[in-house]
Symmetry: C2
Subunit: 578 residues, 2 copies
C-alpha cells in the first residue's frame, strides 16, 4: 500500500489521510519537511500562533535494513530563529513511521479549548486525539512510563516536558530510543511549537505492519552490505566514535585551540583533561557502563553510551560532546559526573543541551551564576526553569534573549541560536556554516571540522579563510541531501573518504524505489533544499544581515591563536551564489 | 561664529571640534541625526557595542524666538528595534545647544575603564569628561540636584537613572525642563545606549552666549508673529490642549472605539470617564494645580500641566495621554492619582511610559500581575525594575521580549516597539504609520488620527482602508521635515488646517538662514529623511516583513466595531513607492 500523508488539525480536533502529491513523492526527511513547511506555512506567521505547522517525516531509507537509516525529521517555523527549522532525531520513531506508511505527519492549528494538553495516537488509517490532564505538568520519563503502561507494546513516543508546555525556547521534543531512553529534536525551540499546539505527546503504533517494500530486494541487500562495511572500516565511525563517543572531540578541538571556553573567551579549556572522551571511557569501563550504544535500530556506529555513577548505577546515556563542552568548557564545570547528572536532568525536562549550556555560560556574564558552579547550574535547571520562575523564564528563552535582557554584547548566537562547540574564529570553515545555514548556528548543517581539523575529505587550514566558503557550501548541500535519506550524519566521514560509500547509498535509494538517481541528482536535491529553506527565511524577514557572526568576534581576538572572525560581508554573501 | 560639530570619543576620553561638512549644513534635528547615523554607524553593529554612536542635534529653528521651536533630536541605532532611531525632546536643551553653536554633538566609543560612569560637560570650544562614581546608582532627580549644586546656573542636563545604567530597553534619557522637571527622549531604549557608553549625564553650558543670528531679523519677526497667531487661533493647539492637555484624547478615542484596552482586546475602556482629560482638569483645578505648562521656553501651546495630589502637594507634571492610556485603559487602573504617582516614579527612573505600560498590560497575560492592580504595578516599577531583579530585567526589556519569554502570541509591538494608544484596527491610518515608519510603532511619526478621528486636514473613515496609505505617507514626510526644524509636532494641527501657518514656518527658516526654501524643498527634505532611515534599516537587516502588524490583529476582531487589520502585505508595501 502506498505511503500516505497524515494530517491532524488541532483546531477542529480532526484528521485526514491524504495521497502524497506528486511533487512530494521523491522526498523524505528534511527535503520533505522543508518543502511542506515552505509551501504550507506563512513565513510571516507567529511561530507559536495558529498558523504554524509541525511536519514529521522519516527519511527515504528509514524503515529499511540499511545501516544508520533511523533519523526522523521535524520541520516548522522556529520560534527561536524566526526562520525555517529542520531538526532530526534517532530513536524508534523513523522506522515505525516508515513501516506504518506515514510519508509525513502534518499537525496544524491550535485547540480552542486550551485548558489542557492532548495526546495524539497515530495508527493505521487512524488518528486519535484525547485530552490527557493527568500528564499535564509531568516530565518526559513520566510520559514514557505512562505510554508503556497504556499500550503494553513498543510504540514510538514523542513528548514534551514542563518547559515545552510553557513554550520555552530551550525546550526540545524527546523521542523514545530502543532502550527506553531519550533522544531529541534538539534545536530551534520546537518543543515550544508542540506546547503551543497543546500536544503533550504523540505515539505511533505500527504493530502488525511490515517492513517497507523494495523495488529490487537483492540489489538493496548487496548495496547495503557495501555501505555497512564502509562505515565499519572507517577509522572515525568504525573505531573512534564507538570507543569514545562524540566526546572524543574534546581533546582534539582543545588542542586545535578551538574549544570555546568561558563564554567564547578562549579556545582552550583548563578542564579538557577532566572532561574528555578518554576520561569518560575510563570512567565507563571502571563503573561497568557501556561505551557503545545505538540511538536507533540498525546503527553500526554506536557512538552513544551508558554512563554510570561511582557506585555503578545508571546516570545517563547519549552523553555527547556538545553537552560536555557546553557545561565543562564553556561554563567551566570540571566534574564529568556533575555534567552527567545535568545531562540526565535535561533529558527528563526536554532541554536543548547546546542552547541551555551556552545560555548558562552567558549567564555568568549576567551575574546569575559563577564559572564552574555545577551545583547552582543543576539547581537553576531543576528548580527554576521547569517551574517558570522569572529567572527560569529568562534562562528558558535561551542565550539571545538573555543577552537582550542584560544588555550584553558578547552574545554567541547566529540567528538567535547558540553557537555550538567549535570556535568560529579558529575553525573558520565551521564558522561559515554557522552563519550561512538557514537553521541558525548549527554544527550538523555542514561539518567543516572534518577537513579543517580531522583531515577528513582533504585538509583546509582552519585559521585561514581560503577555500572555506566553497567547502561549507559543498558540505551543506551534501548534508541537506543526507538529512533526506534518514541517514545519521556520521556516515559522512565514510561518505567523504571512501569512494564506494556514497554510490552504495545511491544504489540503496534506487533499489528501494526503482529509481535511477545519480550523484548529480543527490547534489541537486541538496541544492533545492537549501534554496527552499533560504527562500522561506527571506520571506520571513531574514536577510544577509542575519548571516553574520556576533560582532564581538570581529574585534576581539581569541587565544591561543589570537584570531578574529575576519570574513567580509561580501565574502560571506558569496555563499549563496550557486 | 559658525556652528560646529562637537565629537566626543569615550574610548579615548577625548574630544574634537569640527567644521560642519557642506552636506550637513542645511540640516538640523531629525534630518541631521538620521543622516549622520546613516553615514557613520555600521547598520550591522551591536547597538550596545563600541560601534554605535549617539548624535544630538537641535532643530533648525531651535534657539530662535520662534514659538515651539525647542525640540532636540537624538539619533542612534536602537537596541529595542534594531533599526535607526530618532527621538526628540523638549526641555531647555535645544535652545542651549543652538545658542552655544553646537550643530551636533556626536558621542562614540565605549570606555576601556567601564568600572564607573562618566559626566560629559560641554561648553564653548570645550568638552570635559570626568568619572562620577558618586552618581552611580542614583536616579534622575538626584542627578539634576547634583548638577544644580555643581554649576549654580542654568545648564542643560541629560541623564539616565538606574535602568539606563543597566542597559534596560525601557530606559529613556531624561532632559531638564524649564521648571526643573523632566522631559524625555522616550522611545527605542536610547537610555541603554547612553548606559552602554557609561555616560551618566551630559550637561551643556551656554552661559554668556548669545541668541542665534538671523539673516533677516525683521522678516523673521514678521513670520514669527503670523506663525504664533496661527497656533493660538487653532481650536486644538489654542484651546483643547491648554485646557485638558493631551489627555483630552481619552474620551475622544474611547468614543471612536479605538482606545486599546486590556492588552488590545477591546477599543473601549470602562475606566475612560475616571481617567479622561476632563476629570484630570477638574482634579487639577480643585487641587490648585495648573492645566498649562510649556515643556520648553517659547511654547505657546502649553499642553503640559502640574498635577497635585488630594492635599494639594505636587505629584507630577507632563502627565500625558499615552501614559494615562497605558496604565488606565490597557492595564486597567481606574485611579488617576495612582497613575500620576507611577508617572512621577517613572520620570525619576527614566522609563519609556509607553513601553513600560504596554509591557505591564502584557504581563497580565503572563500571569505577573492583575488588571487594575495599581499598587503592584507601582511596586514592580519601584522595586523590581531599577534593582535589576529577574522580574525587573524581564519587564525592563519591554513588551516584545516579555512575549518571547512567556511564549505569548498577542504581543502588541511593531519592530519590537510597543504600539501606542491608538488601536490600529480601528484607526487604520494610524496603523499604517505604526507598521511603515522606520522607527517602530510610533504615534508621532505620522499622526493620521488627525483626519481619521479629529477632522483635522480632511476626513478619512478610520475603519476603512481607502486613502490611508497615501495619508500616512504624506504625514510621515511632513513629520520628518517638522522634526528637523525643532518644532513641536503639535504645530501640525495648525499647519494642516491654516493656510498661513506652513508658509510662515518656511519664511522663518529662510529669514534665519538666508535661504530660499519652498514648500517643495521641505517635502523633499522629508522624503530624503525617510528614505535615508529606511535604507539604514534595510542594511541593518529589517525588511518588508518587519512592516507588519502583529499577526493576531489579522484574525482577531476588535470590539466594538469588530474590525481586523485587513491590509494585505502588498498594500502596505506600496507605502515605500515614492
Amino acid at each position: 500500500m502506498a505511503d500516505m500523508i497524515y494530517r491532524v488539525n488541532m483546531a477542529t480536533m480532526s484528521f485526514k489521510i491524504e495521497d502524497v502529491p506528486a511533487d512530494w513523492m521523491g522526498l523524505g526527511g528534511r527535503g520533505l519537511t522543508s518543502v511542506i513547511v515552505a509551501s504550507e506555512v506563512d513565513p510571516e506567521c507567529h511561530p507559536l500562533g495558529p498558523n504554524n505547522k509541525m511536519v514529521f517525516a522519516p527519511g527515504l531509507l528509514s524503515g529499511t535494513s540499511a545501516a544508520n537509516s533511523g533519523r526522523n525529521s521535524l520541520g516548522a517555523k522556529s520560534p527561536l530563529t524566526g526562520g525555517i527549522k529542520e531538526s532530526n532525531v534517532g530513536g524508534t520513531l523513523a522506522g515505525i513511521m516508515a513501516k506504518l506508511g506515514v510519508k509525513a505527519l502534518i499537525i496544524e492549528g491550535i485547540p480552542e479549548d486550551d485548558s489542557t494538553f492532548y495526546h495524539i495516537h497515530v495508527s493505521k488509517n487512524h488518528v486519535k486525539i484525547e485530552a490527557v490532564p493527568n500528564l499535564v505538568g509531568k516530565d518526559n520519563y513520566f510520559v514514557l512510563d505512562a505510554m508503556e503502561k497504556k499500550y503494553n507494546k513498543k510504540v514510538a513516543v514523542m513528548t514534551i516536558a514542563r518547559p515545552g508546555e510553557m513554550k520555552m525556547l530551550v525546550s526540545n521534543i524527546s523521542v523514545r530510543d530502543p532502550k527506553g531512553k531519550l533522544r531529541s529534536y534538539g534545536r530551534g525551540g520546537l518543543g515550544a511549537v508542540m506546547g503551543s499546539k497543546k500536544i503533550k505527546c504523540i505515539t505511533i503504533d505500527a504493530e502488525n505492519y511490515k517492513e517497507v517494500t523494495y523495488a529490487n530486494s537483492d540489489k538493496f541487500k548487496e548495496a547495503s552490505k557495501i555501505f555497512t562495511k564502509s562505515l565499519k572500516d572507517n577509522p572515525i565511525s568504525g573505531e573512534g566514535m564507538p570507543a569514545f563517543g562524540t566526546n572524543v572531540l574534546v581533546n582534539i578541538i582543545n588542542e586545535a585551540g578551538a574549544l570555546p571556553s568561558r563564554n567564547f573567551r578562549t579556545g582552550n579549556s583548563e578542564n579538557a583533561e577532566k572532561i574528555c572522551g578518554e576520561t569518560m571511557a575510563e570512567n565507563i569501563k571502571a563503573r561497568n557502563g557501556s561505551t557503545t550504544h545505538g540511538c536507533h535500530a540498525g546503527c553500526v556506529i554506536q557512538c552513544s553510551q551508558t554512563y554510570n555513577d561511582k557506585d555503578g548505577n545508571y546516570l545517563t546515556s547519549g552523553f555527547e560532546y556538545e553537552m560536555i563542552w557546553a557545561f565543562g568548557a564553556n561554563l567551566g564545570i570540571d566534574n564529568l559526573d556533575t555534567i552527567a547528572a545535568i545531562d540526565a536532568l535535561m533529558d527528563d525536562l526536554g532541554l536543548d543541551a547546546i542552547e541551555m549550556g551556552v545560555c548558562l555560560g552567558l549567564a555568568v556574564d549576567a551575574g546569575i551564576l559563577k564559572y564552574g558552579d555545577g551545583e547552582e547550574a543543576f539547581r537553576l535547571i531543576k528548580d527554576e526553569v521547569p517551574n517558570g520562575t522569572p529567572i527560569g523564564r529568562i534562562l528558558g528563552a535561551g542565550t539571545g534573549y538573555l543577552g537582550k535582557l542584560y544588555g550584553l554584547v558578547r552574545v554567541p548566537v547566529v540567528k538567535n541560536q547558540s553557537i555550538p562547540a567549535y570556535e568560529p574564529r579558529a575553525i573558520k570553515g565551521q564558522g561559515v556554516t554557522f552563519v550561512t545555514t538557514p537553521m541558525g548556528a548549527d554544527h550538523t548543517a555542514g561539518y567543516a571540522v572534518g577537513s579543517n581539523i580531522l583531515n577528513v575529505g582533504g585538509t583546509v587550514d582552519p585559521l585561514k579563510k581560503d577555500g572555506q566558503i566553497e567547502l561549507s557550501r559543498n558540505l551543506q548541500i551534501a548534508s541537506a541531501a543526507i538529512d533526506s535519506t534518514g541517514m545519521c550524519l556520521f556516515i559522512a566521514f565514510s561518505a567523504i573518504d571512501d569512494p564506494v560509500c556514497l554510490p552504495a547509498l545511491i544504489d540503496m535509494l534506487n533499489a528501494r524505489f526503482g529509481t535511477t538517481l545519480t550523484g548529480d541528482d543527490v547534489t541537486n536535491l541538496g541544492k533545492m533544499i537549501l534554496k527552499t529553506e533560504r527562500a522561506f527565511n527571506i520571506k520571513a524577514g531574514l536577510t544577509s544581515a542575519d548571516d553574520r557572526m556576533p560582532e564581538f568576534m570581529k574585534y576581539e581576538t581569541l587565544p591561543p591563536h589570537n584570531v578574529t572572525w575576519d570574513f567580509t560581508n561580501e565574502e560571506i554573501d558569496e555563499f549563496w551564489n550557486f
